[in-house]
Structure formats: structure tokens, C-alpha cells
Symmetry: C2
Subunit: 553 residues, 2 copies
Amino acid sequence: MAINDKVTIIPLGGLGEIGKNMTVIKVNQDLLIIDCGLMFPEDEMLGIDAVIPDISYLTENKNAIKGIILTHGHEDHIGALPYILKDLSVPVYGTRLTLALAQNKLKEQAIQTNATFHALKPREIEKIGPFRVELLRLCHSIPDSAAVVIHTSAGTVLYTGDFKFDQTPVDGQLSDYYRLSQLGEKGVLALLSDSTNAERTGFTPSERALYEKIEEIFRLSKSRIIITTFPSSLYRIQQTFWVAAKYNRKIAIISKSMRNVLDVAYQHGYLDVPPGLLVDPEQWQQIPNNEVVLMTTGHQGEPLSALTRGSWGDGRQITYQRGDTVIISSNPGAGNQKTIARTVDALVRMGADVYHESANVHVSGHASQEELKMMLNLIKPKYFMPIQGEYRMLVLHAKLAKELGLADENIFILENGQVLEVSSQKGAITSKVTAGRILVDGLGVGDVGNIVLRDRRQLSQDGILIVVLTISKETGQVVAGPDMVSRGFVYVREAEELMEEAKIKVKQALEKSDERKATEWAAIKTNVRDVLSKFLYEKTRRRPMILPIIMEV
Amino acid sequence: MAINDKVTIIPLGGLGEIGKNMTVIKVNQDLLIIDCGLMFPEDEMLGIDAVIPDISYLTENKNAIKGIILTHGHEDHIGALPYILKDLSVPVYGTRLTLALAQNKLKEQAIQTNATFHALKPREIEKIGPFRVELLRLCHSIPDSAAVVIHTSAGTVLYTGDFKFDQTPVDGQLSDYYRLSQLGEKGVLALLSDSTNAERTGFTPSERALYEKIEEIFRLSKSRIIITTFPSSLYRIQQTFWVAAKYNRKIAIISKSMRNVLDVAYQHGYLDVPPGLLVDPEQWQQIPNNEVVLMTTGHQGEPLSALTRGSWGDGRQITYQRGDTVIISSNPGAGNQKTIARTVDALVRMGADVYHESANVHVSGHASQEELKMMLNLIKPKYFMPIQGEYRMLVLHAKLAKELGLADENIFILENGQVLEVSSQKGAITSKVTAGRILVDGLGVGDVGNIVLRDRRQLSQDGILIVVLTISKETGQVVAGPDMVSRGFVYVREAEELMEEAKIKVKQALEKSDERKATEWAAIKTNVRDVLSKFLYEKTRRRPMILPIIMEV
């Protein structure tokens, strides 16, 4: 065997988490990147807009990168592209719709790049450096989703991306069973497969299951229908279009980002828009209530935010009316049930009929256990690495593979950054590269770290108390202050007495400092902080951030 | 008919929400309070420990209050008692265990009160002012739960509290079907019934269903078993005791608050503790792993917090080991799924076998739709008011009553504070009294309001930037500053340039102010805030709180 008898697999995102999917395949010194996703922030990441993978490993090996290949057009697979292409100018590959959506993202964020874009047809083999790359159709909740097959001299690696085995896909494009099984028959070195639904038994229902449900809601509705969903849930939107046309309703797409995505899909022939269906979003108020459908999404594609704020993505307000039908067709993923419940409550209070999770207006786009087993049985890989899931999901997925007869030592549960080397002889985790989370807040990428987050957390719990002193340069004496300002701590008008007492405490502390000639600012600050912190905790059982500021005149 | 031909019902908590249950029954000028609960804070109530009902209406009518009657010993029914009894010294009634738990709460919080406590037996009628009050056994997840029946000259009101129709209750104490149906036969003026599970079809399983599940887990476990649950889930704890004894394991109750609650239950004969079962919580490490069970809860009775922090309620640490079995038996209520998922993930990573929601180690303590219908059919009330639930649940419960034949005009969905008057002739919402939420933060009750919360929210999103200036009293000139300090905004070492630019902006703004002789502080502050806010948003797309402070020397 030559030097290229092994393939190295380096996940930079998507393991032990849902989102920011990114995996590097390395042969000799050449790198190929699969997917480039972002993750929506978790609750405790206060003020953060998005999370992207740490790509230090890639920037350090810039020249070795041959390309980025995308599996499909969802945020958790293409959303970090605008940030990454700023640093890396490499060719981007994917199916036609996926590339168009990626380019739309760059346009929306006004990103200039020299990167070139190359659309691939399914089953077509493209040579990218030493990699022979092929995309294979797999069903998901958006058209043109694909698995990535990487043929190398050391063997074939198959990366599923998101998938489910939908037997009745909305656009009729079935998963490529033939090619999958043919690869399995020939022999696949390593399978990397989606673990998002590894906790769910059985099969995931078809996207088409939603059609009847949507139709029933349209049949029962006597006034406006308001639908909130992800712009990229294209199959769902397609079916809504068909039902609306059948029931002679017009649709106004309220949110601009949704219009952009739908425009892209339509321009490339992935969306069937019945003639006369869509109306100008400014004009819908001229249409009778029982003939209109309003579709929207919210900030960052989060369908609920528009509803919960009672406003649309572009700032316009909507007043709900008795008789409105509201369909909330979002992913009831962990974490937003409470928001959904509160939203539903508010809408019911306003007299709307609300259809959400329990009304089956959402189906998952990810394979359940029986489908995961089927993928394993089609591919029959030598090595298996569960990807795309929280840790317990990866463990469950690995367990499924074991049940199907894969040897324990050929199954690898990795953490982001761990390096897996596989060859026809053996597989092993050999080292670790830098991997992690970069937080995006506004225009800042990576400038919010643990210290800033820790401060935000403390501020969010008990607020802040600022103590300002002015000290004379000459004498070292306090010439003004201590003045105190608080925010988020107590409502000051109700706490005047507390503040007066606190001032006295500070003055006493300063007098003592003075005696000891502790004119060092740091010492004074520490002293003030300690005295106040103790006093306030005793009085209120709260721990506001205490910030002494000393001015010198 | 005399002046007392009507009963007035005033909910002060528990409507449109889960928790802080409190309802006032009024006849003539006399008031009787049912329950006195707290609510755990919602996510957006940053830093808040608990929420209690606004009792302005009660303090304004102090002398009219004849007593407080409690349905059962859970936080959402007795948790506000320590706060309320500070202001109102009135007799408290309830079943024996409920009263003992309420008194334990007062003791834990070191509350002194002159209030007297009166234990009532089920079916025993007690005269409290003009009210003839009776408690009736209803099954729930804690022993000694009861409905409150209030007999007045204008008719009978029945308040269910929390209940389910458990056919095999752990302590053998069935719901009092005879007395319920007898009341129904004689005629009940108004039924106020629990809506918590109005969204669930069918029947809720018996608490006893957990026994087999717990036993199976014990049978499979080969090392330590760690159980986290609410201290007040007494039936669940009882069954765990029985299973542990059967499998010859010792139990260490790690959390102090749980030990207190179990002590109370044991002392009053509501907990069967097999001899030799319990061991000193300090001593468990001397017991072999496969012979020990650790039970705990966390802060505020929230079972997860001990696990997520990797520490126990009283500060001691536990290191999880490969082979540990962890049972998370908490209420998978809206809002904590994400926390549960993250906890399970961390435990699986450490090698533990984890049983949680999906493993059926929790059953609800609340009646599902068929049981709610049964309650309505047993009582056959003239008027019906769904209580204890979010708005959509109240609406669904009302719909169930309508389906059973109750007239629309006899069903009342109220908001907290609305006043419902019912008599044999008619029922109507007639007015509104003060009702609302009082936030408890540390020792402060009600001193955190909307302004403080709004500030905490802003601080949590983008942090704070403080600008300090010292101005000469005589000349009106800036003699020191502007100095800037930020917290939670950007990591300052990475943003020195930004801060320098910002300082220049402030100086420019001040010079302009100076020219216009705008020596008024408020004007200077507004000017600084506007200039900085605009500048920082342009540069960072963030909106930190900007706090200008001016010192005078």
C-alpha cells in the first residue's frame, strides 16, 4: 500500500450537539470540507445570535483545502458559509438548489467572495483534488438534499447529511436506493450517518402526510389563515400552495427573507406556484378574510418570533381577530415548547383557532430507528461513525449498529476535533485538532467569549451597582462621591434607604483605607466591592455585580 | 331570599397560569381563602426566585377574612403561605399532613406567626364564620389531598384542588365517590375544577404504575442507584422505599429539605419506612455500590438542579461513575425538556444508565379528559368554572363541560381578579379586584418590578457601557474623563480601538454641547447616550445599556 492507504475524518462540528455541522475529510495533505452550518444559540448564551464552528484548523491549513461540498440548503448545513468564506476562498460544490440558497445567503449578508460555485448533478462524479466526489439523492424536508460519497484510493466514505426514507416525497424524487445498495455491495470503508432522531422508534412519516391535515384546516376555516413556518421547509410550503389554490385562497408572503428563499426555489424550478396564487404583501388587506392566507417567519428563520411579538419580521403589526386560524408549523425541538405554549395561549385568548404540534402540522425530516438500520444495512460499512446529534443520540445510534452486527471496535463515537484514521486494516482515533464554538453577536464574530457571557449572566440575575468616586491627584482624598447608580438590582425609589446605608458603608470603608494609606486604586476598589457585596447580600440575599469606578482630578 | 342569597368567587391566582393557586369565596362581607400557592418563575423573569399572588385585595379586607383552607401540601398550593402570613394573621385549616407540611415551610423560612392551625378530618364539617366547610378525599400524587366543599345559605361550592381518579392509590385511600355523588344528587351551585391536564385525552395512569417500572430498574442495576425527584412526590418516594427494601438496598437521603419533608410525613404516619432502610447521609460511602440508593432534590424542590450542577443541594459533590443508574423522576412540564436533555447527555457521557421521561418514571398527578368529565358528571353543578390552568386549558375544559350538556351561559372562564357572583337565579362576572404577580428575589418581595426586569433583560442581551465624566462646579468644564467601563458588551482587550473611537465621539459631542452652553446634566447625558448608542450600533449591531454618570467637583 502507498502513503494514501488511509482516510482521515475530522469532525469540526455537529457531534454532541444539534447544528453547526462541519466535517473534514483528509487524504494525504489534501482536505475536503463537508457542510458549513451554524447553530442557533442555547438559552444560556445570552444575547448571542448564532454559533459557528471554530475553523482554526482550516485557516492553519488554508492551502490544503480543495473545496467545500454542501449536502442541502438548511441553516445548520450552510449557515456559517458567509463567515467562513470571509477567511477561506475555496470552491463550493452542491446540488443546484443548495448552491442557489447558499448564494442567496451571501447576498443577504452582502458578503463579497472570490469563491467559485459548482453545481453537481446526482450520481455525477466530480474530481476535486485527489477526491472523486459524488452526490446521491436522499429525501429530507427540502428538495435537492444529498448524501456525499467520497471515493479515495483508500476506500469510499459516505456522509449522509440529513435524511429520511420518505416513500412518497412531495416532489417524487425518491432516495437513490439503487446507488446506495450498489455502493454497499462494492464495499464502503466508512459510513457517517445522521443521528438526530436516533431516540425515535419506527419510521418517520412522509412529508406528504401533512397535505391532508393542511386541507382539513383549510376546509374548516371561515376567516383568515395565518401560517408560520421555516422558509426552508420547502415541501411544506409547496403543499400549502397547492391546498390554497384548491380552496381559492390568495397567499401573501409577509416576511422578506421567506420571499427571498421562495424566489430562489421558484427561479430554479423547485417550487410550483399556481398562477395568480401570490399577492403583493402590501395588498392583502384588500382581499376578503376568507380568501387570504398570510405566511410568515421571524427573526433568523425562527417561526415563532413573529407571532410572539405580535409583529411580522419586517416590523409591520398584525392584530389577530376572532375567527383567525393560526398554523404553527415549526420544529417542536427541545427548548421551544414553552414558547409555543405561551404563544398558543395568547392567540387562543385573542379568539384564534390554533393548530400546532399536537395537531400534527409538523413531521420530522430525520430518519427514525428503522430507517437508520436500513441505511446501515444498505451500506454495510466497515467502519461506522454516528454524526449529527447530541451525545446520547450518538450512543444510541452506535448501539443500533452493534445490534446489526457491526464489531464494537469498528464503531467510533467522536467528539468535535478528534481525528479518526481509517484504512482497510484498522481504524483508530489518533489525535485532536482545535474545535469549538465561535459566538456571533451582531457584527462581532468571536469577540464574545466566556467572560462576556459570564458577565451577562450575572447582570441578568441581579443587575449591577456602580459606585463612582472622584479622588484628588494631589491629596489622595475623595473630593466627590461616592455616588451610586444601579440597574436591574432594585427599583431605586423603593430602596433609597438601602442606598443611603450602602453609601455610609462605602464611606466607612474608605476612611479605614485612608488610615492605612491604601491609596492604590486596586486596593480601594477591592475594599469597596467586598464591603458592599457583603452588606447587600445580608440585606437582600442578592449578588449584583458591583463596579467601583474611580476618577482622578 | 335574604341578603346572603349569593356566593361571590374571586380567583387571585391560578387562572391563565400553572401555579400560585389562590381563590377567595365571599358571602356577605365574609371571606374564606382557598389555597395559598407560589409559582416557579418563567425563563424571562431573570433572577427571580418565586412568584406569589398579589394580595392587595386581602390586605384591604383584612378583618373580613375568616380563614385559609388548604387542599394539599404542594408548593403551588401552600408555598406562598410564609409570605402571606407575615401580613395576615388568620386561622389555617387543612388535613393533617397538609398542615404539617405548611408548618414545616414556615419553620424552614423561620417565619413567626400568630396564626392558628386546625386539622380537619375528611367529611367533618367545620364552621368557619358563616361558611360550613368540609374536606373530601381526592387522589393526587401526595397523601391527604382533598377537595374543599363550602356550604353556604346560597348553595354549595366545590373546589377540587389537584386531583385524579386513581383506582389503585398507593396508600389505598380512594377518592370519596360516595360523598361527591351525594353532593351532586343534592345539588351543587358551583364547581371549580382542575384544568392542568385538560389537553390530555383518556385517563391518567395510577401512581402505582410506577412500582413495576422502579422494580425493573432496581433488578437491572449492578451499581449505585441515584434518584432525583420532588420531595413532595410522596407516593413515588414511598414506592421507592418498598422496592429498595425488597432488593436489600440502603437509602441515603442527601438533600436536607427532602429529609425535612419525609420526617414530617413519617412523624404523622404518612410514610412507611422499612426498618434499617435509611442510613445517615454522611455514611453512604461505606456501603458497597450495589447496595446503596441516593435520593436527592435540588434548589426550590427542582429535582434537576442537583444533577445539572453535578452537586447536591447541600453543596456536597458527587462524581458519577460508569455503571451508575440515574432515575430522573420529575414533572416533564413545559420548559424543562431542554434541561433534562442536557442533563441526560452529561450523565450518559460519564457512563451512567439514565431513566427519564421516555422511560415512564413519571406519571401525572392530574385528571385527564375522561376524569374531568367524570367529575362534572358526579357533581352536576349549576355553574362551572375551570380553574388551575393556562388559558387554552381553561377553554378546553369549558368545552368538555359544554359537550356534557352544561349551558354556555353557566360556564365562566375568568381571569385572575375577576369577580363571579352566582345565585340560584343567575351567574355573572360583575367586577374586578386587584390581582397580579409579586416577584420574590432573595429577601425582597415585590421590589423587583417591570423596570428592573426590563433592565435585566437589556443587560443580559448586550451588557452595559458606563461613561463617567467629572465636571467642575465653577467652570462647567470637563476636568476628568470621559472614562469608559463595559461589562457583558465586548471583551475589552479585543475592543480597545472601538473604545478609543467611542471616547473621541463622546468628546466631540461634549464640545458641541459646550458651545450651546448645555450645562444641564440631563441634556449632556442624553446627548452622550444618543451619540454612543448610534456609533456602537453601527460598529457592532449591538445595543448595550449606556449609562452616563457625571460627577461634580
